[in-house]
């Protein structure tokens, strides 16, 4: 086994024992011994008190939750980093608008896929709760005429108009604030956060 490792036959690179597709399902990083022993205790032998005899190389690989191709690429791009995206948006909302701390927060998400939209909204609500904010499951509604107009607009115009309509129609009360996570373009892998407060819309990030 040691010899095979030494010969590089069991490295995560594609070859006799691994196909290219299998390798693409791995996220790898090269670590120094100290970091590897700290982050993966038991899996990596610690350096002895007299140092180590030979230089060791540690490459740590994690398998992706779902193999490549299981989900569409646009969904995969958003869902892989959803935790960081949602936490970042919630942090930005809490830190940039401390005056809205006492409000009840509603969440709106927009993505090409309905299933992904639901997941984004759920993750964002959790992230807001982690920031110590009050969150509601209520969804602000718009009437059919508003929706017809809004769907013809681009994101730059549609979101400020929607925000104003939510406020005017009473969908968003004066005690509410709304955080939206939006995929502004179907080709983008990032989500942008916007805030609606008493009919005024602003992009946070």
């Amino acid at each position: 086994m040691t010899v095979l490792l030494f010969l590089g036959l069991f490295t995560p690179a594609p070859g006799l024992f691994r196909s290219k597709a299998e390798v693409r399902d791995l996220e790898c990083e090269r670590l120094d011994i100290e970091t590897a022993t700290r982050d993966h205790p038991g899996a990596v032998h610690e350096v002895g008190p007299r140092g180590q005899r030979a230089q060791r190389e540690i490459v740590v690989c994690r398998e992706r939750l779902l193999p490549t191709g299981t989900r569409p690429e646009d969904a995969e791009a958003v869902l892989r980093t959803l935790d960081q995206t949602a936490s970042g948006a919630a942090r930005a909302a809490a830190s940039l608008r401390p005056d809205l701390r006492d409000r009840i927060w509603l969440v709106e998400a927009h993505h090409a896929s309905t299933a992904v939209t639901t997941k984004i909204a759920f993750a964002t609500k959790n992230a807001l709760v982690e920031q110590g904010l009050s969150v509601s499951d209520r969804k602000p509604l718009l009437n059919a005429a508003d929706l017809t107009v809004l769907t013809r607009m681009g994101p730059d115009e549609a979101w400020p108009v929607a925000c104003r309509r939510w406020h005017d129609s009473g969908g968003l009360r004066p005690t509410d604030a709304l955080l939206a996570l939006v995929q502004r373009d179907a080709r983008a892998t990032t989500l942008h956060a916007g805030l609606c407060d008493r009919g005024r819309w602003s992009w946070l990030r």
Partner: protein, 301 residues
Amino acid sequence: MRRGTARDAVGSIYAGACSRTFSMAWCRILPRWSDREASIVPPFATIPMRFARSALRFRVFGAALVWLFATTGCVTVYQPMSGLHSPVIVETTRPNLRDTRIDLACVPGGGLSVSDATALCGRVQRLFENQGALVTSGMQLTRDPAGTPEEAASPPSVHLTMEITSRKVHESNHPLTWMFSFSTFTLVPAVTELTFAQDVTIRDASGFLLVKETLQGRIVRRFGAGTWLVTHIGDLWRPEDRDLGGDAANRDLSRDLYRRLSQLAFDARIHADVLRIAAPAPAPPQRLGPPDAHPTAPEVP
């Protein structure tokens, strides 16, 4: 659109390292063969003994074998480690970056030579131009703020600066693997490895950081008749996009790198759009110093 190769992307750090190391090793072995023919000559060299009666003929035969192995015995594989194989949605053949100006800089160093940096920049420039962007490239981000005459006529709405730097993260080429490989007549491969990183930074015109990502990958070279044979026989059964031999490593790395760069540029463009919209409107210029006697105000009779 012409696509670049892996060598353009990671520089010439490793180009030819396999064959150089191999040649050096054989240079050391060859004289010993000719001095002590009977005891050290490997089995495959005893077959044409009539041809190799003289030392000169033996050297020619040995050199031919060296050349044969050096040119056919290397199998290079590419492994994306992080960033390079992240999901990409944009299609690089579509006009994704229309109305965008990009100042591109490929900084030499860290294994990327000046000529490789120039070649990389040229290819990335073509990549973005094919997607509709107006691109200027160089080794540093120095540019006339007024832009070209055609830009002055119709200024693009988004202005980005992209900087690409390279790093050699790790390199391994242990002599023991070569010894072990040669002692088995290269049936067991000698393995060398290079881990590289490309740091990509994209900012808007004001210098605000829009995207910063590190794309990391490995190039593993296996040398030996055994691995070469197994790989190429395996390639006969694999679909073409899963081939391991030939130019597959260059092709895969180039595809990953250019697709990922396109996605990063597009995401940065969208981000820059959001910042442009979110930016507060410029305040009207304020008068400094004590107010004068309102020169424009009508005089009261």
